[in-house]
Structures are given as C-alpha cells and as structure tokens.
Symmetry: C2
Subunit: 588 residues, 2 copies
Amino acid sequence: MDEPRYVVGVDFGTESGRAVLIDVADGHELASEVYKYSNGVIDERLPAPDSDVVLGPDWALQDPNDYIETFKHTVPAVLARAGIDPSTVIGIGIDFTACTMLPTRADGTPLCMLPEYRRQPHAWVKLWKHHAAQPEADDINRVAMEMGEAWPARYGGKISSEWFFPKSLQILREAPEVYRAADRLIEAADWVVWQLTGVETRNNCTAGYKAIWSAEDGFPQRAFFAALDPGFADVVDEKLSRSIVNIGECAGRLTSEAAAWTGLPAGIAVAVANVDAHVSAPASTVTETGTLVAIMGTSTCHIVLSDSAPVIPGACGVVRDGVIPGLFGYEAGQSAVGDIFGWFVEHCVPPIYHDRARERGVTVHEILEEEAAALVPGQSGLLAIDWWNGNRSVLVDADLSGLLMGMTLATTAPEIYRALIEATAFGTRMIIDAFDKGGVRIDRVVACGGLPERNQLLMQIYADITGRTFRIAASAQTPALGSAMFAAVAAGEAAGGYASIEEAARKMARLRDEAYRPIAANHRVYDELYGEYVRVHDLFGRGGDPAVKTLRRLRREILEAAGPLHSGADPVVAERDREATPAGGARP
Amino acid sequence: MDEPRYVVGVDFGTESGRAVLIDVADGHELASEVYKYSNGVIDERLPAPDSDVVLGPDWALQDPNDYIETFKHTVPAVLARAGIDPSTVIGIGIDFTACTMLPTRADGTPLCMLPEYRRQPHAWVKLWKHHAAQPEADDINRVAMEMGEAWPARYGGKISSEWFFPKSLQILREAPEVYRAADRLIEAADWVVWQLTGVETRNNCTAGYKAIWSAEDGFPQRAFFAALDPGFADVVDEKLSRSIVNIGECAGRLTSEAAAWTGLPAGIAVAVANVDAHVSAPASTVTETGTLVAIMGTSTCHIVLSDSAPVIPGACGVVRDGVIPGLFGYEAGQSAVGDIFGWFVEHCVPPIYHDRARERGVTVHEILEEEAAALVPGQSGLLAIDWWNGNRSVLVDADLSGLLMGMTLATTAPEIYRALIEATAFGTRMIIDAFDKGGVRIDRVVACGGLPERNQLLMQIYADITGRTFRIAASAQTPALGSAMFAAVAAGEAAGGYASIEEAARKMARLRDEAYRPIAANHRVYDELYGEYVRVHDLFGRGGDPAVKTLRRLRREILEAAGPLHSGADPVVAERDREATPAGGARP
C-alpha cells in the first residue's frame, strides 16, 4: 500500500462510547475520542421529563439516542484531530457490551423513541447488567432441563439473566403491549450497525454467546419457547431472524445519513457487529489456539480459541466462528476482579494509607501495591476465595460470597490486598485448569484491559500462580482497535484492507515488549497455596459445606422480611430477591 | 458494725498497679490510684543502665521493684484522698497477673536486684506473656503424654508456655547458673505478699491454675520432672514448697517496713495472694454454681463454679477451692476479643468512619457500634471465626487464625465489625455449651472488665447469641475490689471483716441494674448462624480441613527461611518460630 488507509473502530461501553482512528498498515492509533452517554446507565428512574417513572431493583436501561450521539461526537472529532483526508478511511467497525438489547419497529425505530412508549421502561434498551429478568432466566434453565435440551451443555449448564431470551421474555410477561408492538428485538450492537447501513443484520457472536444460537443447531426449537409461554413460541421468527452473519464480514455500506453524522465517506464498508471482549482477542494478536486472552478490568472475561469444542465445565459459552472464523471460541469469566480491589480500598483501608497516597500524589492502590510487593508468597498466612460477586467460571453460581482466612492480630491491609490479588489469580488458574483438563490446551496468556496496564505486581502474581507467561496487549483500547481491524477486513484487500482477521492481526495488533514470566520459587509456594484454594473453593462452592450458601439464604430471607428498604443495596442479593417477587420489576 | 472499717485491694496488672480503698460494710469505693510501672513490660532490652542487653523474641519481663513502688505510690494516695483514719483499715489483699514468676534468694531478694545477676535476663520477673518458653511447654506436654500423666486432663490436655514450669525449665536450660542461684522460684503474687508479711506463702490459685498442683495429688511426681531434665527432678522441693495456702486465708500480718511503705497500720491482716481473673468472680457477686463470670477485655477469661469436676474439653484448668472455698473453680478463655475489635479499627476501617468519629468527638468504635446496631442478625450475610490469636477454649490451639466469609461488593466496615462481635459471642457460646455438655450447668452470665462497661450492642449480641441473660458487675475495678474483699475475709469477723468470701460478696459486691436479656427473634436467627459457626469451627479447628493450619505452617516456613528480619512481628508466629531455634531466647 503506497497511499495511507485508515479505519475507524467504535467501542460502545457501559458509560460511554469511544472512537479510534487507526492506520490500516500498522495499527497505529492516530486519535481517539470518548463520548459520555448523556443518559448514562438508567437504573433508578427514566430520564427527564419522565423521571417520575421509577425503575424496580436490578433494572439497568440505556437510551439508544446516546449511541447515535456517540457517532456524531466522536468520529468527526478523531478525523479532525488526526487531520487526515476522510476519503482515506475505508471502513468502520463497532463493538458493544452484550447482551444489550432493545425492541424496535420494523424500520429500526426504537420503541422508546415513540411518544406512546416513552414512559414504558420495557421500551428502552436493556443494558447487559439489567438483572431483573432473573425469574425468566430461572424458568428458561428449568424448562431446558425438564425438556432435556442439548444447548445448556454449550453454556456451562445454564444461562444468566443478562442474556437475550430472559430479557425478551421479561418484556412479554411484564409489558405484553410492548412485546406486541416490537416488530424486532435486537442486540444494540446490531442496531447501531443497522443505523449505519440501513440494513438489519444479526452477528453470530452475540447470537452464539447470548441468544442460544449455533451454526449447527440454530436457535432452540419452537416447542421450547412455547413451553415458556405460548405467546413466546414464535419469538425467533416474529422478532429475531434466522439469518445470522459471521463476524469478519461486511454488514453493508455507510448510508449518506450516517456519513453526515460521522464525516466519513458514504459507501465505505461497515463491519458486522461484534462484542467488546471477543473483539479484544485479535486486537491482542491472538487468532490461534493455545493462548488465553484475559480482558481484565472490574471483572475479567477470558477468550480461548480451539479447533474442537469439548464441554468445559463452567465456560460461559462456546461458539464456532464466534471470535475467529474457523475456530471455536470459548468464553469464560470471573465476575469480580478489579471490583474486589476497589471494594477493599473503599471499605477496608485505614487512613494511614490514604494519607500516604495523598502526600505522594498517587492512588491508594499504588501504596498498597508497593507494600504488598515487599511480601513474599505465603508470608501473610492469608488465603482468600474471590467470590465477592459470586463465581461465573467454573461454578456458574451467583449465590456465592467471598472468604478470607488466616488473619492474626498482626495482619495488615497490604497483606489482605495481596491475598485478594492472589485469590483472583487462583480463580484464573482454576479456569485454565478447567480448559486443560477438558482438552483445550493453554500455554500462555495475553492480558488486556485496565488492570494489566497499571499493575505490575498483579501481573507477576498471575504469572507466578498460573505458571504461565503473561504478555500484555500494546493497545490501551483493544476493543476499539479490534473493531477497526474488523473494519479493515470488511473493507477487504481490494479497498486497501485485509483478506482476513488473522492477517489484520499480524499487521495491526501488537504486544508490549515486557513479559511476566513465572518465578520458580514463587510458583512452588503458590502451588501449595493453590492446593488449599482448590480444596476450600470446592468445599464451599460444590456443596461440601453449605455455610456460604446458608449465609446468603439467611441474608435474603431477612432482607425480604424487612421489606423494600434494603433492596438494591447489593446487586447480587437484589437479583435473588427478585425471585420471590416476580410481579416486581418495572413500577411505572 | 458501728464504726467504719476499710480494706485495701491492690491489683497488679500488665502495665500498672492499682489500689482501691473500700468500705467493708457495703463495698463502696472511696478512692483509687494507679501507678504506671516505671519499667513497664520489658520486652526488647533490659532497663538502663543495662540496655545493651537485648532480649530474644517473645520475651516479656518486669522489674519487681515496680511492685514495691506500686504500694508506695498508691496506698498512701488512696488513704489521703479518702481522708480516713488509717487505723480504720483492717486488711490488705492483692491480686496479680499469672503466671508471673521470679527467682529469689532464700530471704526473698529477687536475683535481678543483685549486681551479679542484674544483666542476666533470666534473673528478672517473667511476665505472664513471656512466651519464650514454648519449647519447654512442648517438652512438658510431650513427656506428660509419654508417661501417661493424669494431670493434663485437668488442663484441657496441655499447658501453655505461660505457665510456671515451662518458665522455670527455661531458666534451668538457658541460664543454669541463675537456676542454681535461685533458692526460690515464686509467683510474683506470692512474692509481693511475702514482701508485705515477711512470710513466704504459696496460694492455691496460682499453684492450681499455673503450676500443675492439686489438693488431691499435689505436684507432678519427681520422675516426671526428672524425665524433663535430671537437674529439674527436685524443682518442687528445692525451689517451691509443698505447703500451699488456700485463698481466703490470712497470709500474715503487715510488717513495719510494709506499714511504712503504705501508711497502713502494722499488724493488719494480709490476704493470701490471688489472681486478677479469679478474684473477679466474687467481686461480681458470683460465689455459687450456675453462673459464668466473663472477664472481658482484650481477651476474655471465664470462671465457672461447680460442685463436681467433670472433664470439660478445652477448659484451661479446674482447681478445688481455687476461686471459692468448697467449690471447684473452672477457668476457660478466649485468647482475643477486644483485641480483634482493636485490630479491626487499626487495620481495616476506612477514613470516613475516622472522620465521623473526629467530628463528633467519639471513638471509631462508637461510630461502628452505632451503625452496626442498625443491622439485624443475619442481614450482613457475614460469618467470622474468632481465631485472630488462636483458640484457647475449646480447642487449646494457638496455631489457628481468623476467618471471615460472606463478603460481597456491598459489604461495609460496620457489617464486618458486627460480624467480629458476633464471632466472639459464638466463641463464648461454644464454651458455655462445652460446660453444659460436660455436666456443669450455666444459667446466666455476669460480665465484668472493660468491654461490657462501654459496649451495649456487644452485650445484647452476647445475650442474643448465648440465649442467656447477661448482667454487668457494678464495679469498674472488679479485681481490686475482689482483693479488698479477700482482705476483709483475711481480717475476719472479729476485726470487723467477714467470716467468708460468700458473706463478703453478699455485702460488698453488686451488679448494675440493667440486664441484657435475649431477644427471641434475634436468638432464633443466631441459632441458625451458630450452627454454621460450629460446623465451620469444627471443620477447620478439629482437622476436617487443614487449610488454616497449612497457611500457618507455610507462613512459618517462609519467615524462617527469610531469617530474623521478620521475627517478632506477630507474637503467635514468633512463638512458633522459637521452636526451631531452641538455643534462642535471651541474647545477653
């Protein structure tokens, strides 16, 4: 390529959307811009002027207009900042949180944008962390078991309230008029691509990981949906589509309307929508088997590629072509990682460390890390089990809570901080072991996301505990870079892009130079501690001792008896509370 | 009694000594005075001019001169402050920490007061919390088991490094010249009475609870001591005495020298020495069976009276006449209570609560208690096991460490604070249950000490968890009051005192009006939580799962490998470290 070519990637996150402008030749990021959603996460009441409409516990909505505004604010900004000729941009790609879904008219108009539905919470976008469909998820899991459905095996045995069909079923049950009015129920990822192209497509990544679809078997059978609710029997044919498009393909061409929003040339390639975590794998250079990609932030998502699809206990899903065409992509996860460290700093760190951080102009995390780094493995005598927000992989159990043992009168905050880091690393090793035992080999790890960027001690502990070398993705914006890479693939070689995501990854994705390699002496001690972790994990997590579950049940009973005063204080508890009040949810 | 009569009680604590002047008629406290020991707890180096003599880890010494100074400073002060005629004082009694012991010449001169031994740490007073004789305690326990000794059954199966013979054997092993020079090895309690009376007596309380003596069997047999060390074979006959005097008796009469120190009349009765915890029972009105006396502070000591002496697992000792003549007195204990709350406030409470405390001019404990009081049982979903300093009763295991489970991302510091209070209350219930199951009935509890005075929430939680009514001793100085009561008994009826400690208790001891009664609804929830506590307690404490022990062992190995850098950081770990370096200890 003599002439420079550029692509735009747009990453739709929970609080904001971010665009990056990327050089196709080498993946260099020329500019990036963030747009903070004006209505953010809507979890207490609808936005003004309808803020008298109060949401139930565990609701989390978004305003689809914020997605359009993201395009309008960020793409022109990166073009202007980079000072490039817009005609050199050959494609745009997007990734999104998932499952984030909404009901629309046949022409794509979100129901919440119609005056008659504006005050109806079920007409809005249900964000991934809308957890109010737990009764529906429970019913789906129960009915699947009763009917002997095969698909749960692909999803670690059960699906979560965050997924597409629990959310859809909740609309039908609680707002049948909205369900009827919805010509389409669609992932927000696909909806924004629809807005860019004027063409409705459905990507195989969200379909596979969040909507129980597979290339081999399609969606669950009609009888299964009918068993949930007669009115739900034809949800796929009435509201979704059986035509699923693979990631890496071109969804359509940029419309003139979208060209006006973005300042990009009309007619350029728009990539099929993707998911933030999954698109991070090629953006972290990973397009082959043998490597775990860990997207580490408040929680951690793991992506593993494989050329076969054995059942891996506790994996959240396995989808053929779901991450990289031609390979099975596994997803696994730890439901709280950075969130645990954040909790600790907020709730358990005494003033001395805050003072020290202030004096030195650094974060409390940095002070704790510094002191924790002076400890050697095993020295604190502490062991934690990282269940502060339940356990996604390998137990798939939201009803678990955290555990810390080994405290003496001399135990210090940095010691506990280190034990919490170690606990999340042990959790990662449990997941790696589950893959290994299941026949999916993992030799190395590539980490990306907010945590590995900042925290050297954490990375070294992860390497020491897992016995694997950890590399870090060079980009600080792997999802947006990944979307830009898929844009280059959607544009294709002829337009100056690439023929495949593998080729795009070779050219556009990079790792940092440094590698975190296991230190043998540390690994030996951690091997022994890991033995303790596994035994205590299995003891309380697999039914050997009911204490953790009993505490949660008691707490739930007491909060229920106490009434709505306490609900919502704890997202997980609130999620479970909801089971007992299926009539709850939106209170318009 | 027409004419007023007074008694003086002197309580020798860890950091200071305290005298009270008490009205014999009704126990009213006229005045009290504290003397802070000038040399305090000597645990790093000997006092100047010998401060180049550095002590080993786990050493804790005192200066016997501080005890004499206590008499000189406090007794004249209370007499002056009360403005009474000293001739109306009919007796003096003392209580002491135990086992706190020292080597002396035949005339009672402490070896450490002789110039030739002043720089020898083993010549000084070994304070109760001198833990450097752990190897000796281990040997004593091992040899007792090998020889099939009967006495361990009276002491929960093994004795601690704090006791009389481990400390004595450590002197013999590490400083044989001091051992040889010591005509007497004696409890400090008995030594101060010796200083007051000019007569060496040995009280049955410290002999029974700390020196393996019983009225029935005396001391262990010569062959037992010989098996420990040939030079130790005749320790009882060479260094102690087989003549043991019961508490409640008169040890002797105040000498003119001691009268000059104190301003008291020469010739008044001096009570046989007693122990701070044990003397608190009658000072809390308890002289009969059926009541647990809980002396609650940094740790908790429990005293229970019984008319029989079944083996109670985990009780620290049972001594006939050891607390109240005619009854068996049991001692049990929790090795950390207030210490755990103190640890939490120091190491785990974020700035917001410290700020709030400062703004309102109260302690952080008060802020936490206030917020914890707004919670209901079970609401936090937390459960703690109170092993921050091991477990004395019922497991007799210093190698245990604390456990906290049930944390979520919404868990707050006041919730954890409450869980820690609950854990110590569950620990108390375990002890009550052990007595109940062993055939020693406990219907009610009387608490005294620093904690129950200040902390209403704590008392209510203890009542709710144990299902027992808690009353609080009226005196804030129960040990000193108890010593004064024993002084009245030593003086006898003829001198205006009492014929028995029971009578003294009826007249001189009182409870506060308020009672903490179990709230049925709370007790029900706590019953269920207690079930979890017991199961997890037994799981990790009785060998069901080795995690807690493994963490401790790993920690010890790592600290040992790291060398002396870390020793002493944690008293318990340091205690165990000592096992591996029996040549350690004093480094003159």
